[in-house]
């Protein structure tokens, strides 16, 4: 009896590693034609929606007499000493000061008015056609300032009374310090003093004229010997309480007990309106100055001295057009992520999958890796194209684009692609937990898209809480402009302002996804296939 060798197959033994599992999941994904088509739909949708949002933003300015000729474009935006875009429109009653000196004034009143409408009609003689309504902007400013020169964007240090933030000392547009609180009336005036010693300017205030409090010091390096010293008034865009619409406004202040010390070559106050027709929305014919008596002036002005902000009435783009592109792609990716797992349940393929890979947690992780990476690549392509296209379209339409560093642009594009990839993984986890595609898609949309819709109808406070606590916080990666406490603006998501820092927002979404994945893996291991 002969013994033969048992048959042994020539084929090598297959390995059962994670890489093989990844390849299996990738095969399942790429062989479904409608899913590959929907990936290209994602990229097209991102670009198309961003283009639509950008194309719907125009800016035109009408420099001719009586606003007769309008072209696409915007007035020049001045830049401050640090290179940041600033608003520098105000009325300045000033004279030159050479060397060291100081200026003391008393402010006895600050009143204001605004026009509750976005188009301000002006008659041929320059009178406002729309009647004004009394109202003082929160950050209306009236005080004294030492300016390097009278060009927009020059270095300065100022002490001022404001509409509802008391006395402030501000310098070089971004620095702000608080002085005595309370508003200014005839019975409770404020005394303000600025003292210059070389490059250092110190600000003081007083509520009785005899006891002075130092508010702060400003160091303006490279200040020339001859500077401009004087009184100024300006009034920024006014937001009525509870409203996200802003209107141009003006303010009028009364100064008396004006005392200037130092080398004053002219010894004569000259009134001037700085950058009245610049980028910042101002009321026409608001710049007035009138000498009431010896050392007493009434000055009126409109505009702002501070960092330039964007969105809403300012019309400057803060990159909000990528938001709608991201949301459109997000909805398609939620569907795709949910379908990637729920279609296995519907067709019964899940039993084969778990028979081939009994370690169920690894199966879900492999799916997450596949859909996350594929989605990231597609979204990166779409977002990069959308960013380039929308900036080009906005510039062609004349909108002012805030200068953006290359690092910030890359962060916006890569961050949005990451956000879309992690959102697809979140939808996958929901699909694995619920096993029904309808529920997973609704859950994904409720978690990721609905907070935006709700947030745009709610006031800023509750809307910001939604933007912090829900996975939509991840859209903070698209935020490029900071919130300035000393500038009133509608700091809403639609205008591109997010309550969280970019990576903190993405971390919130990653946290939700990690919890969802963990819960889904736990459920997968406990339940039947």
């Amino acid at each position: 009896m002969t013994t033969g060798t048992p048959y042994r197959s020539e084929r090598p033994v297959g390995r059962d590693g994670f890489v093989q599992l990844l390849y299996a999941e990738w095969t399942k994904f790429r062989t479904v034609r409608s899913w590959m088509i929907s990936l290209s739909v994602v990229a097209v949708l991102i670009v198309a929606l961003s283009f639509t949002a950008a194309a719907g933003n125009h800016a035109s300015f009408c420099p001719g007499p009586n606003a007769s000729t309008c072209t696409a474009g915007h007035p020049a935006v001045p830049t401050g000493p640090g290179g940041e875009p600033v608003a520098d429109s105000f009325t300045f009653v000033h004279q030159p000061l050479v060397g060291n000196g100081n200026l003391t004034v008393r402010v006895t009143s600050l009143t204001g008015a605004y026009v509750p409408g976005n188009t301000v009609g002006v008659s041929a003689s320059g009178q406002l056609l729309t009647p004004t309504r009394p109202g003082l902007a929160q950050w209306a400013k009236a005080g004294i300032s030492i300016q390097k020169d009278t060009s927009p964007g020059s270095a300065y240090a100022a002490v001022m009374v404001t509409g509802s933030h008391g006395v402030r000392m501000q310098y070089n547009y971004t620095h702000d310090a608080a002085g005595a609180p309370g508003s200014v009336t005839a019975s409770s005036p404020r005394w303000l003093r600025l003292r210059r010693a070389g490059d250092v300017i110190t600000g003081y205030d007083s509520t009785d004229g005899t006891h002075w409090n130092k508010i702060g010091t400003a160091d303006l390096p490279g200040l020339p010997a001859a500077v401009q010293l004087g009184m100024f008034v300006t009034s920024p865009v006014l937001y009525p309480s509870g409203s996200n619409n802003g209107y141009p406004s003006r303010a009028t202040a009364s100064f008396d007990q004006i005392a200037a010390r130092g080398d004053l070559p002219h010894d004569l106050w000259t009134g001037e309106s700085i950058d009245a027709n610049g980028f910042y929305p101002t009321l026409p014919s608001a710049a007035t100055w009138h000498q009431e008596a010896n050392q007493a002036f009434t000055v009126g002005g409109s505009g702002d001295i501070g960092p330039q902000v964007g969105g809403g009435i300012f019309g400057a783009d803060v990159g909000a057009s990528l938001l709608i592109g991201g949301l459109g792609g997000l909805i398609v990716l939620i569907i795709l992520g949910a379908l990637f797992i729920t279609s296995e349940y519907r067709r019964g393929l899940i039993r084969t999958t778990f028979a081939a890979s009994p370690r169920r947690g690894r199966v879900l992780l492999a799916k997450a890796v596949v859909i996350g990476s594929v989605t990231f690549v597609v979204a990166l392509v779409g977002t990069a194209i959308a960013e380039v296209v929308s900036r080009h379209v906005l510039a062609a339409n004349g909108s002012y684009l805030f200068p953006l560093s290359a690092a910030a642009e890359i962060r916006v594009v890569v961050g949005t692609a990451l956000l879309l990839a992690v959102a697809a993984i979140l939808a996958l986890a929901l699909g694995a937990a619920l096993r029904r595609s309808a529920g997973a898609v609704v859950g994904g949309i409720v978690l990721l898209v609905l907070p935006f819709i709700l947030g745009s109808t709610l006031p800023v406070g509750p809307s910001n809480w939604l933007m912090r606590l829900t996975p939509t916080a991840a859209f903070a990666v698209q935020g490029t402009q900071p919130v300035f406490a000393q500038v009133s603006n509608a700091y809403t998501v639609v205008n591109g302002y997010y309550p969280l820092s970019p990576w903190a927002g993405l971390a919130v979404l990653c946290g939700y996804t990690a919890v969802a994945l963990g819960g889904a893996i736990w459920l997968l291991r406990r339940r039947d296939a």
Binding site: G56, N57, L323, V442, S456
Partner: protein
């Protein structure tokens, strides 16, 4: 037709998810409305608030649940293979679609009346405590007032049209996830896109053609001149969307395989 109606009613009432979805629609509508109304306080000098529209804010959330119900009424049949049985029993396919539509309209009207009534009642209780009293120029919410009746009836009609729109889209697309994504995307992305464009003409047109933005114009009771579209015209725009979806779905249902 009567048999088809009764068959569709049987299919809907024997699914527990139908009851849960209808209750969830009503509860979420009232919950969101109460939360929004409770968070709004009277500020003197502020703009005049449209209180009935504020009270009906919950419809924004409830409409998504009604859309899911309508989509599932069709997509569940396709995913389980039941559609072949249905079409074998009722070969006239448009009768099937009409029977589903009639049943969904009936269920949505009931849920809508409950939800809208509860919203207005809750607002009537909460708003005086938030400072919106007659002394400040805000009369108590009462259904005797014409524009409020229009807002209430219009909101129920709005939900009905959303259900019909979702039914049409789901019949055309057949897959539940895709249909829900498509419906919710069309509903929720138009208002956001409209907010992001500053050009006044585009802004206005986007709000006039968007299903949710046009349809919700019916809820406005004050400042009608400031609306992008008048109330009934807005509802007609949504009816056009629903009609187009139903026609598209019906044509595809007739000409495709089951």
């Amino acid at each position: 037709m009567r048999d088809a109606l009764y068959a569709e009613w049987t299919k809907l009432r024997t699914l527990t998810s139908t009851g849960w979805l209808l209750s969830a629609a009503a509860v979420l509508t009232v919950g969101l409305s109460a939360a929004v109304v409770g968070a709004t306080g009277y500020t003197s000098g502020g703009p005049y608030q449209d209180l009935p529209k504020l009270a009906l804010t919950g419809i924004d959330l409830g409409q998504s649940v009604i859309a899911v119900l309508a989509v599932l009424a069709v997509s569940n049949e396709y995913s389980t293979g039941m559609m072949r049985t249905t079409l074998a029993a009722v070969p006239r396919r448009l009768v099937v679609l009409a029977a589903k539509a009639v049943n969904l309209v009936g269920l949505t009207v009931v849920a809508g009346i409950v939800a809208v009534g509860a919203c207005l009642f809750a607002a009537r209780l909460i708003l005086p405590g938030r400072g919106f009293t007659a002394a400040h120029g805000y009369p108590v919410l009462a259904l005797a007032h014409g524009p409020i009746v229009r807002a209430a009836v219009g909101s129920v009609l709005y939900l009905v049209l959303i259900a019909l729109f979702s039914l049409g889209v789901a019949t055309a697309v057949r897959d539940s996830a895709t249909a829900i994504g498509l419906v919710l995307g069309l509903l929720y992305l138009f208002p956001l896109l409209a907010q992001l464009v500053t050009d006044p003409a585009w802004h206005r047109h986007l709000q006039q053609i968007g299903p949710m933005t046009a349809g919700l114009a019916i809820q406005a009771t004050t400042n009608l001149q400031g609306l992008p579209i008048s109330p009934w015209a807005g509802l007609a725009v949504l009816a056009a969307w629903a009609g187009a979806a139903l026609i598209g779905g019906g044509v595809l249902l007739r000409h495709r395989d089951a």
